[in-house]
Every structure is written in structure tokens, then in C-alpha cells.
């Protein structure tokens, strides 16, 4: 029935495992960008400006003669950091809100869920874009912003999982044994919802990357000279017809990374029973 995370990955070597491996490889390349990248971070090759992809510059060069592959790898650091850390922030808030609502029930549940609903009814991308335009955040603030506006899905999943676990016998047993509510939630309920939380986090990483890139694409996200995949696309869109590689490659990296997150998340959740009400339909966040 409930198969451990590790078992699931080893037993099913297709799909989710491949996606996780690809994500890991990308993460290693991003962290090791100074070693892996073929050129220095901001090395200019003025003789080969706006060069099409070739053997010396696999992804071509931009208008300053910077190697695009190098920029994509350095951009991966920012984009992945935003995706991973914002997912951590939203997972934390989501678990706290969802577990509180699900365990406490009654008016606490009503208030928290009504608030979650209100947050969900404001279109997320426009809200993020306005907030980013208002606060002009740096990368750390951007992570916080994407995380703080992205916990609602996790909270809903956590709430329904906690609700179903709360009614189980071992919880009654713990309560009969005199355990406090806090202890019951932390020691008895949370370990049971961790697999669902892992799925929610994986999906949130993809969402975060997609949202960051959309914000940066409209010039309100990560600001140059810091490179992220989104702002590389922003800079490339005006020269798309003459130097298409500048837009095609960063966008392809966004696409493949988010795809891997979604495949991994879906693969991890496939074998698990999950309350259908909590499974909000997946949506493309960058419309």
C-alpha cells in the first residue's frame, strides 16, 4: 500500500526517476557552474558577437559576445535557487496552515480555509507582478514573495490529509495516553503526511520557476546584470527574429526543468491514495 519514497524510485526506473536524475544533474551543473561552464561568467568575446551556435559556442553568443551556454548555467543557479527556496517557504507556510486547520477544525478551520480561498481567488501571476513592481525586490526578497504567495495548494492538500489521519485509532490512542495536541501533530500526524508534502513541494518547485521566469520576462523579476532564465528571455524577445538562439535555449531550459518537476511530482503521487478533493487540477501558471 504505502510504499516508501526510496522503494518507489528504485522500483520504477522510468518517468519520475529519470526526471529526478535530470534535475539533480542540472543542479550539480548549476552549483558547479564555475567549473563546468566553458567560459568565465562575464567573459566578452567581442570578435564573435551575436554568433550563431557553433562548436566554440554551443548555444551561440549575445550582443556583447558573452557565451550563452555559460550564461544559461549561471542563470540556472538563480532560477533553481528561486524554485527550490520559494517551494521551501511555501511548503513551510502550507504545512503550518493546513495542519492547523485540519487538526483544530471548527472556527479555526473555517477562518484559515476562507483566507486560503481568498488568496486563491486573486490571480497569482498579476498579483506577483504588481508586488514585484511595487517592492522592486532583490533575489532573496523575490524568493520570499513567490513563496509567500504560493502556499495555498500545499495547505489544502495538508488539511485534508491531516483530517483523515486525525480520525485514526493511533491518534485517539495517543490522546488517551495524555499527549498534548502539539505533540500529537508533530510526532504522530506530520510523519504520516510527509510523502504528500514531498509531492506538493516538488510541484511547487516547478511552479516557482515558471512564475519567476514569467515575472522576469515582463521585467519585474530578477534584474540584470544577474542572469536568470526569465530575464534572458526578456532581453532576447526584441531580437528573436535575428538571433533566435538567445531566446530558444533559456526558454527550453525553463520548459525542461518545470517538466521534470511535474513528472517527478506526478510519479511520486501516482501510487498513493489521495483524497480527490485535495487534488486541485494542475494548471499552467504562465498564461
Amino acid at each position: 500500500m504505502n510504499v516508501g519514497l526510496r522503494e518507489q524510485i528504485t522500483r520504477r526506473p522510468t518517468g519520475a526517476a529519470v526526471a529526478l536524475a535530470a534535475l539533480l544533474l542540472l543542479l550539480v551543473c548549476a552549483v558547479g557552474a564555475p567549473i563546468v561552464a566553458p567560459y568565465a561568467a562575464d567573459a566578452l568575446d567581442l570578435a564573435h558577437r551575436r554568433a550563431a551556435p557553433s562548436w566554440s559556442h554551443w548555444f551561440g553568443t549575445d550582443e556583447l559576445g558573452r557565451d550563452l551556454l555559460t550564461r544559461v548555467l549561471y542563470g540556472a543557479r538563480i532560477s533553481l535557487a528561486i524554485g527550490l527556496l520559494s517551494a521551501t517557504v511555501s511548503a513551510f507556510i502550507g504545512v503550518v496552515v493546513g495542519a492547523t486547520a485540519g487538526y483544530a477544525g471548527r472556527w479555526m478551520d473555517a477562518i484559515l480555509m476562507r483566507f486560503t480561498e481568498a488568496m486563491l481567488s486573486v490571480p497569482r501571476l498579476p498579483l506577483l507582478m504588481i508586488a514585484a513592481a511595487v517592492f522592486a525586490p532583490g533575489v532573496p526578497a523575490l524568493i520570499l514573495l513567490v513563496g509567500v504567495l504560493g502556499w495555498m495548494e500545499t495547505a489544502r492538500v495538508m488539511r485534508s490529509e491531516v483530517q483523515s489521519l486525525r480520525a485514526r485509532d493511533f491518534v485517539s490512542a495517543a490522546r488517551a495516553g495524555g499527549a498534548t495536541s502539539v505533540r500529537i501533530v508533530l510526532r504522530h500526524i506530520l510523519p504520516g503526511v510527509l510523502p504528500s508534502a514531498a509531492v506538493a513541494i516538488t510541484l511547487a518547485v516547478g511552479r516557482g520557476i515558471l512564475l519567476e521566469s514569467a515575472m522576469s520576462f515582463f521585467g519585474v523579476g530578477v534584474q540584470p546584470p544577474t542572469a536568470s532564465w526569465g530575464n534572458m528571455l526578456y532581453q532576447a524577445q526584441s531580437t528573436m527574429s535575428s538571433e533566435p538562439w538567445l531566446g530558444v535555449f533559456p526558454g527550453a531550459f525553463i520548459f525542461v526543468t518545470v517538466l521534470c518537476c511535474n513528472i517527478a511530482g506526478n510519479g511520486l503521487s501516482r501510487d498513493r491514495r489521495s483524497a480527490p478533493a485535495a487534488r486541485a487540477p494542475s494548471q499552467n501558471m504562465s498564461r
Binding site: R114, F115, E117, A118, M119, L120, S121, V122, P123, L125, P126, L127, M129, I130, A131, A133, V134, F135, G206, L210, S213, A214, F217, F218, G219, V220, L233, A236, Q237, M240, S241, P244, G247, V248, G251, A252, I254, F255, V258, L259, C261, N262, I263, N266, P276, R279, P281, S282, Q283, N284, S286, R287
Partner: protein, 315 residues
């Protein structure tokens, strides 16, 4: 039924109130307030800013400001655009037809295609594999990137379709309009198809796993009829709910798609206002789109309630 409608409507009101607080709080959290744009402009004198501040009531306490903004918003007075001085409501209304056209066409296309692909994928394994992979790809696609790549392909290289806008300059013929619509509508439809198809596929499979199809099969009813008359009937209402909710988010214009294709709808009004920090327009946009979501989720609940007797027995 009436009691349900009234109770559900009463629930929507505090929701709207919380949303309005969120929106107001966000805009007024700007350092320098909504006039911060002028603070950066050396041509605007400090006394002008002070005069504007008084004229717009920004020297009042926040609670007073909130209340006067909220009450006038409810009355339909949404203020004036900082960018061109025209009423925000006028600016938004003139963008509605373009958005409705784009959203309408792409929603219909996405609904039809997701119905077809989801039904087929329940019947045929290889179609299921292909369409599921495509759908997961579809929810992962950065829409702006897809738009740029399609423009490159079909406008710059092949020259088949116009790259942006709603009509060519000086040409308003039907074929010209249709050609302009193809790419943005297709991009939006792909983004929606992906989520809707995955959802419908999931609920169709869940319906096929209930005892109902087996009982029907035992009575000698054909597979196609089971799928259409039994499984689809179970799945259709939740699907309609999802489509309505998604369409409500689109009612605010598909911000990304409209901007990439310079489609003159509400979504691109939003990005124009964002670039100019036109806060009156931005606030009205956020309020309207949130109201659309709340209203359509209310509608979806009522429709499901009216059509599905099972939900009524819970009373």
C-alpha cells in the same frame, strides 16, 4: 435550493472583503504610496505632489482612504488612469471585446479537444500515453516562450501568420481578423487543454473504476455507451466546475498570451499599466479579476447543485 443560494452568496461577501483588503494593502505598501512614480520624476515639483496627494485624498488616514476607495469601487467609480486621465472603467470596458473573443475561442477549442482526448485515452492505451505526456508538457510550458517560438516559426520563417495585433493596419476583413486570432488562441488553448485533459482523464478513470460500468457491462451495454452515458455523466459536472473556474481566471485576460501577441485585451492593458505603474488601473484589474473568480465559483456551485440531486441530499 433558495436557501443554499442565499447562504453561498453570503459566504462570497466576506471573501470579497478580504480580497479588497489584500489589494488595497498591497498598493499602499509602496514606499511613497501610489504617487511614488512622480517622486522619481525631477520635472514634478514637491508642491505639485503635495497638491495631488491632497486632491486624491492620500493625506487621510489609511482606514478612511480604504473605506472611500471601497465604497466608490462598489458604486462603480474606479478612479482615473494616471497614464492618460481617462476613467479606469472606460479603459477596461473598451478592452473587453478583444479579451472575450480570445478567451471564448480558446476555451471552446480547449474544451472540445480535452473531451475528445480524455475519452479516447480511456479507450486506447497508446493514445493515453501520448496525450498524457503532451498534457504534462503542456502544463509545464512557459507560455511566453511558446508564443515567441511560434512567432518565429509561423511569422518570421514561414510567413503564414501575422505575428501580433488583432488586425493589420487598414485591413479589417474577416480573414485578416481570423488569421490574427489563430496563434494567440492556439497558445492559450494548449495551456488550458493540458490541465483540463489531465483532470477529465483522471475523473473518467475513477468513474470507470466504480461498480457502475461493470453492472452496465453485465446488462450487455456496449463499451462506448458505458463511457458516454455512465462514466462521462459522473465526470462532466466536476469538469464543468474546473472549466468555469479556469475561465474566470481568464476573464481577466490571459496576461501573458495577450502581451506576447500584443492582443488589445484586458490582459495587455494590465501589462501596459504595470510598465507605467498606473495603480488605479492595476487595483481595478485585480479587483475585477478576483470578483470574476468568486462569481464564477459561486455560479459553478449553484449549477452543480441544481443539476446533481446527490448534492441536495446532504442538506
Amino acid at each position: 435550493m433558495l436557501r443554499f443560494v442565499v447562504r453561498r452568496a453570503a459566504e462570497a461577501v466576506p471573501l470579497l472583503f478580504v480580497v479588497s483588503l489584500l489589494v488595497f494593502g498591497l498598493i499602499h505598501a509602496v514606499p511613497g504610496g501610489p504617487l511614488s512614480l512622480y517622486l522619481e520624476n525631477p520635472n514634478v515639483r514637491p508642491e505639485d505632489i503635495e497638491r495631488l496627494r491632497r486632491a486624491m485624498g492620500l493625506d487621510q488616514p489609511l482606514v478612511v482612504q480604504y473605506w472611500s476607495w471601497f465604497t466608490s469601487f462598489v458604486r462603480g467609480d474606479w478612479g482615473y488612469s494616471y497614464a492618460d486621465g481617462r476613467a479606469v472603467s472606460t479603459r477596461m470596458i473598451e478592452r473587453i471585446p478583444a479579451t472575450l473573443q480570445l478567451v471564448g475561442v480558446s476555451t471552446i477549442a480547449a474544451v472540445v479537444v480535452s473531451l475528445l482526448t480524455a475519452l479516447l485515452s480511456v479507450r486506447r492505451t497508446h493514445i493515453d500515453h501520448v496525450s498524457s505526456v503532451l498534457a504534462v508538457a503542456g502544463i509545464s510550458l512557459p507560455v511566453f516562450w511558446l508564443g515567441l517560438v511560434l512567432q518565429l516559426l509561423f511569422s518570421n520563417w514561414l510567413g503564414w501568420l501575422p505575428s501580433s495585433g488583432r488586425t493589420s493596419f487598414g485591413d479589417g476583413s474577416l480573414s485578416d481578423r481570423a488569421l490574427h486570432l489563430v496563434m494567440p488562441a492556439a497558445v492559450l488553448a494548449v495551456a488550458h487543454w493540458a490541465g483540463w485533459m489531465l483532470y477529465l482523464r483522471g475523473s473518467l478513470r475513477a468513474a470507470m473504476a466504480t461498480p457502475l460500468p461493470r453492472a452496465a457491462r453485465a446488462r450487455g451495454i456496449g463499451e462506448v455507451r458505458i463511457l458516454l452515458h455512465h462514466a462521462l455523466r459522473l465526470s462532466l459536472l466536476p469538469f464543468v466546475t474546473v472549466v468555469l473556474l479556469d475561465a474566470s481566471i481568464m476573464a481577466s485576460g490571459a496576461v501573458v498570451t495577450e502581451s506576447v501577441f500584443a492582443w488589445p485585451g484586458i490582459g495587455s492593458l494590465f501589462t501596459e499599466a504595470l510598465a507605467k505603474r498606473d495603480y488605479a488601473v492595476l487595483m481595478a484589474f485585480l479587483m475585477c479579476s478576483s470578483m470574476a473568480v468568486i462569481a464564477l465559483s459561486f455560479l459553478a456551485d449553484v449549477v452543480v447543485r441544481a443539476l446533481d440531486p446527490r448534492t441536495r441530499s446532504l442538506e
